[in-house]
């Protein structure tokens, strides 16, 4: 099984706290991974610091995804970072209010972030500030809604065999 290394977790938290101080909102140990919430103003620097720091070396962006918290009307972005050398994974979270869904882009740090951010934009309508090509990627360009927000209906509205009374459920 994957071993959790509390030493390294503490090191990460200490280093980040030392660097960004109160911009680190919260850190908690969830089931398998250290999870750090960061203010969106510093998220880019935070990621860069994590990537470039000699001891941490989080050189691999495992994944990036958007979140929608309808109860607080917030949109968030979650980064999973992985340090190959230290074999250490952490999760960085950041969030902002739905009325101003802009985040800095991580494309310059990892080219891999390019499509993931486009996907996040596509699903949640999160704007990534200096993204080179922020267009819809999976959905048709004409779409105006952001389908993964909780208020968007899942079902295809034109399904016929379901409208039939015998398929209604």
């Amino acid at each position: 099984m994957y071993q959790i290394d509390p030493e390294r977790n503490r090191l990460v938290v200490d280093k980040l706290k030392g660097q960004f101080n109160e911009a680190i909102e919260k850190h908690e140990m969830l089931a398998d991974m250290l999870c750090i919430s960061v203010k969106k103003e510093v998220i880019r620097h935070c990621l860069q610091f994590l990537r470039d720091d000699k001891d941490l070396q989080f050189n691999f962006l495992t994944t990036l995804c958007g979140m929608h918290y309808p109860e607080t009307s917030q949109l968030g972005v979650v980064y999973h970072l992985h340090s190959f050398v230290n074999n250490h994974r952490i999760r960085i979270k950041t969030a902002t209010h739905i009325s101003d869904p802009t985040f800095p882009s991580a494309t310059t740090l990892w080219p891999a972030a390019n499509w993931m951010e486009r996907e996040t934009y596509d699903f949640f309508g999160i704007q990534f500030g200096d993204h080179p090509n922020l267009q819809r990627i999976l959905n048709v360009d004409e779409m105006t809604d952001f389908p993964l927000r909780k208020d968007f209906p899942l079902e295809d509205q034109t399904r016929e065999d379901k409208d039939d009374s015998m398929f209604g459920r």
Binding site: T63, H80, R91, I137, V140, L154
Partner: protein
């Protein structure tokens, strides 16, 4: 220069002014035979050479993440089938392990080993597709039909275990739906006995054939640092020389007990990818053999699911007869169990690389958010960089050797 010519003393014709350099655009896809699934590449071509590529994907976008938010956990398994449909059981197991992690279900060792047998079979099946398709795209169709017969055999094994060939929906949260039948074991043993010779034959057809080597060596080469920056994982990263394998780095499902080699390549070209996949099949065979040895050494031949009554469907004979069991059965099927709130990230070494499930639960009936880290989606964006300056034929081989599965790409 144009001015000079206008004052030509004899010709008063319109002088042709040079236009900016013009390249051909070639529209590869979405139904081009080489794109297998569906993605479009608009290639800017200078003769046979590719100047730049622009991809359009999403032609089979099916909104997996949205559906997953509306379905109880066990109904997500059929969805994961359709991610990388060449190796459905791998995805199934990955998803089950994720849920088990969230729910805190401890699986018995026997389940782990059974899963490993299935997962490695699935890996072989996936690599068979990828490598034989490299052959097909380079024009050697025959190798495909030879090796595909073994894939058919793997289908038979699947069918014996779960009842489906491709989209298996195999296993349940906590284990399997039924124990492996004697026939299934027989087939697995037969497979282990016959497959090496077939694989060898397939290798003889291609591996040391100069035409094939010329077609693949230094085609679509990608340096390791770029590959890491682009988030490559799996065989594609290993072909670049980085021995990153989730099974070794973050062992799950008792992989730490197994002895196998992580094959790596040299410079990440198509030949490396082909060879890495080829070697992985051999290693998978070894792992299966070890797993079977371990299973044979066990006294327990009956356990096939975790005995966790909170989340695992009770056995049918109890449901039929026992009120308590019936109630739990209803609760689990309706999704009314007390699922703990929390988030987990679990990743497995799928055939194409690190397949991650980021599962956020708020304690409700369904996941509040489920994000798939789909390896294809992440590394396919490096394709333009890989084929820049290459020829059209190279681009096609590069694409097939990357093994981009449309279902996984578009979610």
């Amino acid at each position: 220069m144009a001015k000079e010519l206008e004052t030509d003393y004899w010709e008063r014709d319109l002088v042709h002014t040079p236009e900016p350099k013009e390249y051909n655009t070639l529209n590869v896809g979405p139904t081009h035979p080489a794109t297998h699934g569906v993605f479009q590449n608009v290639m800017l071509m200078d003769g046979e050479f590719i100047v730049s590529t622009e991809q359009t994907i999403g032609y089979i976008h099916r909104a997996f993440e949205k559906i997953a938010e509306r379905r109880p956990f066990y109904q997500v398994t059929p969805l994961t089938d359709r991610l990388n449909y060449c190796s459905s059981p791998l995805n199934n197991m990955g998803w089950h392990m994720t849920v088990e992690k969230l729910l805190g279900i401890e699986t018995p060792k026997r389940v782990d080993y059974l899963r490993i047998v299935i997962m490695e079979l699935a890996r072989i099946a996936d690599h068979i597709i990828c490598n034989s398709v490299i052959g097909v795209d380079s024009g050697a169709l025959t190798g495909f039909t030879y090796i595909f017969q073994d894939r058919e055999y793997i289908y038979e094994i699947y069918e014996e275990i779960c009842g489906a060939r491709l989209t298996t929906n195999m296993g349940r949260i906590g284990g399997f739906e039924r124990n492996f039948s004697p026939k299934a074991w027989e087939k697995i043993h037969h497979f282990l006995k016959t497959f090496p010779a077939k694989l060898k034959e397939f290798e003889t057809l291609l591996v040391r054939n100069r035409i094939f080597m010329d077609r693949t060596i230094n085609v679509g080469a990608f340096p390791a640092d770029r590959a890491l920056a682009y988030g490559f994982t799996g065989p594609n990263l290993r072909a670049c020389g980085v021995d990153y394998d989730v099974r070794v780095i973050n062992p799950y499902c008792s992989y730490e007990e197994f002895d196998f080699v992580v094959p790596v390549g040299q410079n990440g070209d198509t030949y490396d990818r082909f060879m890495v996949r080829q070697e992985e099949m051999w290693q998978s065979l070894r792992i299966i053999e070890q797993a079977i040895a371990k299973l044979d050494a066990m006294d327990d031949k009956e356990t096939y699911f975790a005995k966790d009554p909170r989340f695992v469907l009770p056995p049918k004979e109890k449901v039929y007869n026992n009120m308590e069991a019936l109630i739990w059965h209803f609760k689990i099927v309706m999704g009314e169990t007390d699922i703990p709130a929390g988030e987990v990230y679990h990743s497995i070494e799928a055939a194409n690389g690190e397949l991650g499930f980021y599962l956020v639960s708020d304690g409700g009936r369904t996941a509040s958010r489920l994000h798939f880290r789909r390896p294809c989606f992440i590394y396919y964006q490096a394709y333009p960089e890989m084929v820049k300056g290459a020829m059209l034929s190279d681009a096609i081989l590069t694409m097939s050797s990357m093994n981009v599965i449309a279902g996984e790409l578009d979610a």
